[in-house]
Amino acid sequence: TQLLEQSPQFLSIQEGENLTVYCNSSSVFSSLQWYRQEPGEGPVLLVTVVTGGEVKKLKRLTFQFGDARKDSSLHITAAQPGDTGLYLCAGALVDSNYQLIWGAGTKLIIKP
């Protein structure tokens, strides 16, 4: 079974703090995506990383893809209440049949 282990599962911090969410696997991915989901809505794609070692920035969010393409991280600087949501990582295996392997999700709460 291919797994994508995401941690932490739950994080509650104060506005202005920094945080990092991790996704790790023993499998190699051709790409890895991060989604954010707000309550009662579908997930929304934030970013896709495809190259080992790649770093992408989206305002205060920084995404990294591991050199071996087995892991990824999401770092949020100076978290805001608007960052609250469920963050999901999902990876496409090299021989994927149009499917993604999903992490368990990180429920993030930013308190004002």
């Binding site: 051709s30 995506q33 809505e41 579908g42 929304v44 992490g103 429920k107």
Partner: protein, 115 residues
């Protein structure tokens, strides 16, 4: 704007009463997915279509069926809903591109309640 639309947003059905959820897309993507999601967990893939080619996940109960009459529409039929089928049902699409990342575009979901 191109998008994925799900109707209804909220559906209440009785135990054992068949229910159909619908999804439409204007993205012209050839892959469509149905997911089940329970309380802040990861979405669980039920099945997906590549064009009209249907792919069922091994652990998807027989109670769940799907139809894709054309590129734009896809339906999820739950033949005899049980209390355990209460969940958010998400429809998603992606584009088949050689070496593609299968980035998925989700609808807003249908929240199913079983009474």
């Amino acid at each position: 704007d191109a998008m994925v639309i799900q109707n209804p947003r909220y559906q209440v059905t009785q135990f054992g009463k068949p229910v159909t959820l619908s999804c439409s897309q204007t993205l012209n993507h050839n892959v469509m997915y149905w997911y089940q999601q329970k309380s802040s967990q990861a979405p669980k893939l039920l099945f997906h279509y590549y064009d009209k080619d249907f792919n069922n996940e091994a652990d998807t109960p027989d109670n769940f069926q799907s139809r894709r009459p054309n590129t734009s529409f896809c339906f999820l039929d739950i033949r005899s809903p049980g209390l355990g089928d209460a969940a958010m049902y998400l429809c998603a699409t992606s584009r088949d591109v050689v070496g593609g990342a299968y980035e998925q575009y989700f609808g807003p979901g249908t929240r199913l309640t079983v009474t």
